[in-house]
């Protein structure tokens, strides 16, 4: 699934070096925070990542440290990723990307 740091899952390609995201060949314009969220979820495939982990590790603690901000980023990211419904909500925990639909 991941080669040289790159992650490929369900048509999603993430390159951590160039910080480029492609879905089914189309470039997705993700912000820095959105990219980090996506990368964190994609590298832990099928494993949920807790909201508080994402808040402390991905969000800038000085500017936007709340779980509400995280929800906003997630919903924007979902909109950008379209109908694929890659990012799943895990009850009581946070979010995950499943390797299969």
């Amino acid at each position: 699934m991941s080669r040289g740091g790159q992650v490929h899952v369900r048509g999603l390609h993430i390159d951590p070096e160039s910080r480029l995201v492609r879905l089914d060949g189309t470039n997705i314009l993700a912000t820095a925070v959105e990219f980090d969220i996506l990368f964190a979820l994609a590298t832990r495939l099928d494993r949920p990542v807790s909201r508080s982990w994402l808040v402390t590790h991905v969000l800038d603690p000085d500017r936007e440290g709340t779980e509400r901000t995280l929800d906003v980023h997630i919903s924007r990211l979902r909109r950008k990723l379209g109908a694929a419904k890659l990012i799943q909500t895990v009850w009581g925990i946070g979010y995950k990307i499943a390797s299969q639909e």
Binding site: T43, R44, R47, P48, V49, S50, S52, W53, T56, V90, W91, G92, I93, G94
Partner: protein, 429 residues
């Protein structure tokens, strides 16, 4: 009282009386010698010489204690303040001049003490043209040196002993600290003292008693574990059968029986830990909580799914290291998850989350089941109270004890979705 303080007091208690006695003795000796020296000096000053009337003479008396230790205290200075001569006749008009004196004869020397002043009186007979005259001279002891300070060698000795005590005190402290650490964490080694003195023997006696204690504890633990293990297998089979029967036949009795067996399984599973906690032996080591999380997830995933519950677990990508008793922690998490599964009214969710940030960790089990009433929230943590009414068996009470034994915090509260949130918080590393 501390060892050093006790010794210091003992030393002072012995040294002060001894010092006082010696001081008294030396004072007597000093006075005698001083008197002898003064007398000799005065005699030497007047005997065989012509008397100089009204002349002040300064003499130095040297003397020592006869011991090299106090030689430095041997120099004293005395002053002859005057020499008065009085005429023999009662009218007292006759005064003699030095020129008139032909011979001087020393009659006697005596020492007098006026308060703090010591005076040496010298009586002399002058033969002169006027006949003979009695004269008296007073020599004041103005500069008596202080008595020998025997205190400072004693002080040096006491300080030396106190300094020499250092290693002994250190050993005692090392042993005390070792025992304290061991009380908190039975895995911590107790330092072995190889000294051949009483302290070393005490340390070794303690060490061997600790070994015996640990052996006994080990035997007890083994017994409980064996018994639990023997019970676990048939109980699991029984539970499987009962849940199977419950699916096949709708019967409230079967349901009740299945729940009772569940309860017994939980009690039996917690027995070793209960024994361990009641003895107070918690052996800590550095463990990776992620691995425990993964095991607990694998253990309960199928069981939860069979009861139509979605059980998910999350832990950070990096290892979360905690200094804890591995069995305690794993059983505590087991209990939390099992409790959530058992009291859920499916369908629903159970979430197990490990978070670690800024030196602290949190293990949280949340469900969207019916939850517990406010009154019962307080009750379930009390040992034995949980019972069957609360339905937690030993489970949550044991989690609480594990938390206390490790210095963690355990809390249960109502979740946002009405279920129960149980959280274990502590320090990483």
């Amino acid at each position: 009282m501390k060892l050093r303080a006790r010794l210091l007091l003992t030393a002072i208690g012995v040294a002060v009386p001894v010092w006082l006695v010696l001081l008294g003795g030396f004072r007597i000796v000093r006075e005698r010698r001083l008197d002898a020296a003064l007398t000799a000096a005065a005699s030497a000053a007047f005997a065989g010489s012509r008397c100089s009337v009204g002349v002040t003479k300064s003499i130095t008396v040297k003397w020592d204690w006869g011991s090299p230790l106090f030689k430095s205290l041997s120099s004293h200075q005395f002053l002859i303040i005057g020499l008065d001569s009085t005429g023999r006749s009662d009218s007292g008009t006759a005064r003699i001049s030095a020129a008139m004196i032909t011979t001087v004869k020393l009659d006697g020397v005596g020492v007098r003490t006026y308060g703090t002043t010591r005076q040496v009186a010298v009586a002399i007979t002058y033969d002169s043209a006027c006949g003979f005259t009695l004269a008296e001279s007073a020599v004041n002891d103005t500069t008596g040196a202080p008595p020998p300070l025997l205190l400072w060698p004693v002080l040096v000795a006491v300080l030396g002993v106190l300094a020499g005590l250092g290693p002994i005190v250190r050993r005692a402290r090392l042993l005390t600290e070792g025992i304290r650490r061991w009380q908190i964490d039975s895995g911590a080694p107790i330092p072995i003292d190889r000294g051949s003195d009483e302290l070393g023997k005490l340390a070794r006696a303690y060490h061997s008693s600790v070994q015996t204690l640990m052996k006994r504890e080990e035997a007890l633990k083994e017994f409980i574990e064996d018994t639990t293990h023997d019970l676990a297998t048939p109980l699991t089979v029984l539970r499987g059968h009962l849940w199977g029967l419950k699916k096949d036949f709708e019967s409230p009795r079967l349901e009740s029986a299945a729940e009772e067996v569940d309860f017994i399984v939980s009690v039996v599973a917690n027995l070793p830990l209960k024994a361990k906690l009641s003895v107070g032996f918690v052996s800590r080591s550095d463990i990776d909580v992620n691995q425990i999380m993964s095991r607990v997830h694998d253990r309960f995933y199928a069981l939860a799914a069979a009861r139509n519950l979605r059980f998910e677990a999350a832990w950070p990508a990096q290892a979360v290291k905690v200094h804890a008793d591995p069995t305690c922690l794993e059983q505590a998490i087991n209990n939390l998850v099992e409790n959530a599964i058992r009291h859920h009214e499916p369908p629903g969710h159970i979430a197990l989350v490990l978070d670690a940030s800024s030196g602290a960790f949190s293990i949280r089990v949340e469900d969207d089941g019916p939850g517990i009433g406010e009154a019962d929230l307080q009750r379930v943590l009390v040992r034995g109270e949980g019972g069957r009414a609360g339905g937690s068996g030993l489970g949550l009470a044991i989690v609480d004890q594990v938390a206390v034994a490790h210095g963690w915090q355990f809390s249960i509260r109502a979740g946002d979705s009405g279920g129960l949130v149980a959280e274990l918080k502590g320090i990483v590393g």
